[in-house]
């Protein structure tokens, strides 16, 4: 199995042992050699003691998805040794800690097993149980560096940067790297036939997770109020926002905070706080995951009907119910689109990677204030918590945030009378006022029946006037949500349509299908309600493979409901086992369906 810059490394450890920083060091060292990487973390819903894996795909071609094969397994966890060995591709290599003998029963003759006495070497070189455990992780990084030919200088530089404030740790970490590296070079033929070689494909790129990117986006959007209830996998979004705020949101004059983060008692309160803050004119948001959306639903319907802005990040995880909180899915599409009772529907944004988490966080605040309705950003665990290589973020310093139709005290002073729910401009969006600006601006915000003048009503016609105008606003939303990403050739009559984190695997699948002489067009939806271009795209094709990560074809259902798409054209490719999507799966399913179509 000889290859250059096309290798998948998987490291099996025990959670709570500090392996995350070792794995980060390994991945970033490869990234710094100019080689694109994909990192995926498979972790348990647990604090300490259960199996956890980190997978690094080195992809010179720059693909974004995980691969479904493993070439080099670093099996550090005796508990999962059998499973790890089993997962290894034929011709692959397995590194294990040979301090303790391995059962002969676990032998496979189509792989090469490399034993390295990592624990013994670390016990001899370091004092203290914690240091020995941590350094064992660093030692396997050294071994992998030797096996794959990762540049030792790059690793040294990274350690120097990481421990700049604790120089004594640089030496001990380098010692550990050397233990692994030297043992491997002394005992095996290094590098292996599959290895890495410096390239120039990572310049202008960063490695970042989507939750950090979204938190940064909220900082740049000028969000001031964040309310949340801790829930995996969204928690790190607020952690990131808080960390950015602690540096960039301190008032120069008073030294006081220009942000307010409130850890709510539950998600019902979190969304209530967001609505109270947006009613008062602050940009406010809440990050959550599926169960939180269920709890927020009543208030989301209120916000739809009372026309209040709110930004909700739903970092989707595997449902139903508690499901698998540390696995990924795209299974809240329908529950978000129609969250709450009554005729309710919501604007959704679908970032495809962390770069779009950064930009769409900003877009979400503009859209929610422009449309005066909640905007939900549907990320997922794969985007939110995994490290992605993406182009550098840019902020346009000339960007003027869209605060929507808000009347100032001067506007009100010069007005005869203000009516909250009147469609003055014909786009279905009324004007709003903020409390504390002017007595003429006062009105009563309510979830009960109201007239276009803002008064309470139980009159059928007056009620219907308002809900009909909300439909007009929905059409305005359709015209301003982000357009889909489309790759189109008029020669192709079949296409793939996907959403969010399914993007990377789909694009890789398109390349591979094309190599098999199956050329497909591509559309990735980025907003809901769907732009006209989505409807047109479907109309232009005889068959559209709708690729999504849920069991019930929720995106396909939404396309039928919102674009009146012909169900016969929409062929589902569904992946919902909780692991992020890989290209192989898409290729196989499309080939199956394609051959059925040929036969028919």
């Amino acid at each position: 199995m000889a290859s250059v810059n096309d290798v998948v490394i998987k490291i099996g450890t025990v959670n709570g042992t500090g392996s995350a920083s070792a794995n980060g060091l390994l991945m970033k060292s490869i990234f710094r050699m100019g080689i694109p990487v994909v990192g995926k973390n498979y972790f348990p819903s647990n604090i300490q003691g259960l199996p956890t894996w980190y997978e690094i795909r080195v992809t010179g071609d720059g693909y974004q998805a995980r691969s479904n094969r493993v070439d080099l397994m670093v099996a550090m966890n005796a508990q999962t040794y059998a499973r790890d060995l089993d997962e290894l591709a034929p011709g692959g290599w397995l590194v294990y800690d040979s301090t303790w003998p391995r059962s002969k029963l676990l032998d496979r003759d189509d792989v090469t097993v490399l034993g390295i006495p990592l624990s013994r070497m670390c016990n001899e070189s370091f004092d203290g149980a914690r240091a020995r455990i941590l350094m064992k992780n660093i030692a396997y990084v050294g071994a992998v560096a030797a096996l794959l030919d990762i540049d030792l200088n790059t690793i040294t530089t990274m350690l120097e940067e990481t421990f700049a404030s604790k120089p004594h740790l640089i030496d001990s970490n380098m010692t550990a790297i050397r233990l692994g590296y030297d043992y491997a070079t002394d005992n095996f033929v290094c590098p292996l036939p599959m290895k890495v070689e410096a390239m120039d494909r990572t310049k202008g790129h960063i490695i970042v997770d989507g939750n950090t990117a979204a938190g940064l986006g909220c900082l740049y959007a000028g969000a001031t109020v964040g309310a949340w209830y801790p829930i995996t996998p969204s928690t790190s979004l607020m952690d990131a926002f808080r960390s950015f705020c602690s540096k960039y949101r301190v008032d120069e004059e008073s030294g006081k905070r220009t942000y307010c983060i409130i850890q709510a008692e539950d998600e019902l309160a979190a969304i209530g706080m967001v609505l109270g803050a947006s009613w008062n004119g602050a940009r406010s948001f809440t990050p959550t995951s599926g169960p939180g959306i269920s709890l927020m639903s009543e208030f989301l319907g209120f916000a739809y009907y009372a026309e209040l802005p709110a930004v909700v990040f739903n970092v989707q995880r595997t449902g139903p119910s508690t499901g698998m909180p540390t696995r990924t899915q795209q299974a809240d599409i329908l529950s978000c689109a129609y969250a709450s009772h009554g005729d309710t529907k919501h604007v959704l944004l679908f970032p495809g990677d962390p770069a779009e988490c950064f930009t769409m966080a900003q877009d979400a605040f503009d859209l929610t204030e422009r449309l005066q309705t909640p905007v939900m950003v549907l990320s997922d665990l794969d985007i939110g918590m995994n490290d992605w290589m993406v182009p550098d973020f840019e902020y346009d310093d000339s960007r003027i945030p869209d605060r929507g139709k808000v009347l100032s005290a001067d506007d009100l002073e010069n007005m005869e009378k203000f009516y909250r729910y009147l469609d003055v401009d014909g786009d279905g969006i009324p004007y709003r006022t903020l409390p504390g600006q002017h007595p003429k601006g006062s009105f009563f915000t309510r979830g009960s029946g109201h007239t276009k003048y803002g008064d309470y009503t139980e009159n059928s016609g007056d009620y219907q006037d308002v809900v009909d105008r909300l439909l007009l606003k929905w059409e305005t939303a359709r015209s301003i949500v982000p357009e889909p990403e489309i790759h189109h050739s008029k020669f192709n009559k079949a296409a793939i349509l996907s959403v969010g984190s399914s993007d990377g695997a789909c694009k890789e699948a398109l390349d591979r299908l094309s190599a098999e002489k199956i050329s497909l067009n591509y559309c990735r939806v980025r907003g809901f309600p769907f732009s006209d271009s989505v409807r047109e795209f479907i109309e232009q094709h005889d068959v559209v493979y709708v690729v999504e990560q849920n069991r019930d074809a929720q995106l396909r259902t939404l396309l039928m409901l919102d674009c009146d798409a012909d169900p016969k054209k929409l062929v589902s490719v569904l992946h919902y086992n909780g692991l992020s999507l890989n290209a192989e799966f898409v290729v196989q399913r499309v080939l199956e369906e394609h051959s059925k179509g040929q036969a028919a």
Binding site: Y395, S442, G447
Partner: protein
Amino acid sequence: MTYIAKPKISHPGMPRNSLGLTVRDYEGAVSTLCAGCGHDSVTAAIVQAVFELNIEPHMLAKMSGIGCSSKTPAYFVSQSHGFNSVHGRMPSVTTGANAANRKLTYIGVSGDGDSLSIGAGQFVHAIRRNLNMCYIIENNGVYGLTKGQFSASADIGTKPKKGLPNQQEPIDPVSTAIALGATYIARSFSGDKDQLIPLIQGALSHDGFALVDVISPCVTFNDHEGSTKSYAHTREFYHHVVEADYIPPAEEIKAQYDEGSAMPIELHDGSKIVLRKIESEYDPTSRAKAFKYLRDRFNAGEITTGLLYIDDSRKEMHDLMGNIETPLSEYPLDKLQPGNAELKKILSRYR
């Protein structure tokens, strides 16, 4: 919650407050509650209290949830913004509103169903944060809009119009608030305007969470013989322990108080509350003593009223966090983002 506009009737001789407004300017729409409802008396007390405090109508925010009590913000100060939210969630909306703009005065009107059942979680957490607001519970022991089911504040043995007496332990908002550490806790009766108005004024001026639990009888479903939340029962077992006089910021204490019986407390805005003990053993500054007294009198069947606990030393939500005085909603957006050059520096961490 009404669509009937109330005609503005005012005559030139009406007293004006320092803003030049009359009490009529603080009224709202016509109430649609039942004739004789205690809540309408509370509304009238709020109108008077806000008028006398010289609060600019547009600087007052009226917050509520769902229920008869939650309808009432429509019936006072029509030039204030109102937020009639969902059932039991007024505290969270007020928390967010206050987070965005701490310069407004927040008055929340809730009921025993809204605060002690569906909204119990939000009620206790608003206290925990010492959210700066006046929180009024119009407490009648029943659900009115759904026609007379017991609420969580119904006393043991109290009789419904139909069916069997309540046997479950009531939740008392006042002793609950003391246990949780609320910083201003009062109880009053809708039928005692003289007591109620200064208590609401103190609550609006207090810098932190101020609870005013008002026994406010439901004439339709809970005003019969055998009900412990009826007008007759409340009048009979009403036990006033501490008088509270509200003195506005610029004014001197004029009344003559007996040596040792009066205790002036200065609030953050310069106004004063003068506490006068009617019950000499009562101590409204000790959580433990106040709690014990309240429980003892409760067990004896009495309804203890007055300003029952006050602690003006604790910081409210924003000050606990170290937040800026300027409302966050008014802070210029361009000063909230650090710009593209700084973004490049931030990104260097991710290489």
